[in-house]
Amino acid sequence: MMRLRRLLLGVVVLTAVPALAAEIPPAERRSGYTFMTSDTKAMQDDDTANPGMLAVMDGEALWNAKAGETNKSCADCHGDASVSMRGVAAHYPAFDKPLGHPVDIEQRIDLCRKDHQKASPFANESRELLALTAFIGKQSRGQPITSGDDEALAPFVARGHELFMQRQGQLNLACTNCHDGNWDKHLAGAPITQGQPNGYPEYRLEWQAMGSLQRRIRSCMTGVRAQAFDFGSPDMVALELYLMSRAHGMAIETPAVRP
């Protein structure tokens, strides 16, 4: 009898713990853009004032520049980026069959450099890699995100979801605590956004530079005093993939401007 009571008490305590916030329904998904001031919005909207367009211009030059032992440019195989790269950023990270795991655009560029151009890979967050990623990303501007639709990606999306829900760091916070549960509130003076990945690589005024989604995730992880994932690590790509699948249907804004 005593035992049964304890069990019942356990059930009551368990149900009293508030449930973790659920994933944001499609109709309520909001780009980080909608949280910005009108000045920052104007900066993103005008391609002659958006500093991210400088990276896009650099990326276009790199797209057409011959590189590596094979002396080929991206354009030699892929042709006109406005045709061949349209929609690509909207479905990455994508499953790579030979490798057996998903790769993001940065990794795809470096794989292309290694396999087809026989060139040295670009370093993470290097000016060149950000420029080329921004140029490719811009070709999908306005396209709806479809990442994660590939069935082969299911276990990796699940892993990313697990990481998103997992508490970590000295502050013991999961991504979901802020970005699902409290996105309509503020942290100090700044709005907490939904953490949508639809504008990367983006120009952050705080950074005074372009940065990737991975850089943004790493600064969030440092913020909760957790050990940040390494650039390009399997967990990092899984988290990127989950974030993209969580933003299903949202329009790509690359290169976005964010405060």
Partner: protein, 107 residues
């Protein structure tokens, strides 16, 4: 990979006030920051910007360490005749960048 984005209206009516906007790619390192090892990062900024129209200077600006990376400058002028705007950015470590744009002025 220095690049500039310059926005000049391609056409204007004579006497119209036109806006010229320029965005220059530059890190604008102020010279006050230190590396993790404590060494001062040397200053590397754009120090001067000028705009000439058909050879005559119409706008000039001096830039300082407190100005953000990738300086965006916009200014106004009056369209008087067709011609060419020439822009020049000069900075530390021998930095020089140029851009130009043409305008057609209709009566």
């Amino acid at each position: 990979m220095a690049s500039a984005l310059v926005n000049v209206p391609p056409k204007a009516k004579k006497g119209a006030v036109i806006e010229i906007r320029t965005l220059m790619s530059h890190i604008m390192e102020p010279g006050y920051r230190r590396t993790a090892a404590g060494d001062l990062v040397p200053r590397d900024i754009i120090t001067s910007f000028s705009c000439r129209f058909n050879g005559e200077e119409i706008f000039r600006a001096d830039l300082f360490p407190a100005i953000a990376a990738n300086p965006f400058l916009s200014f106004f002028t009056v369209a008087t005749e067709s011609g060419k705007f020439e822009f020049e950015w000069i900075g530390d470590n021998g930095f020089v960048a140029n851009a130009s744009a043409t305008i057609t002025v209709e009566a």
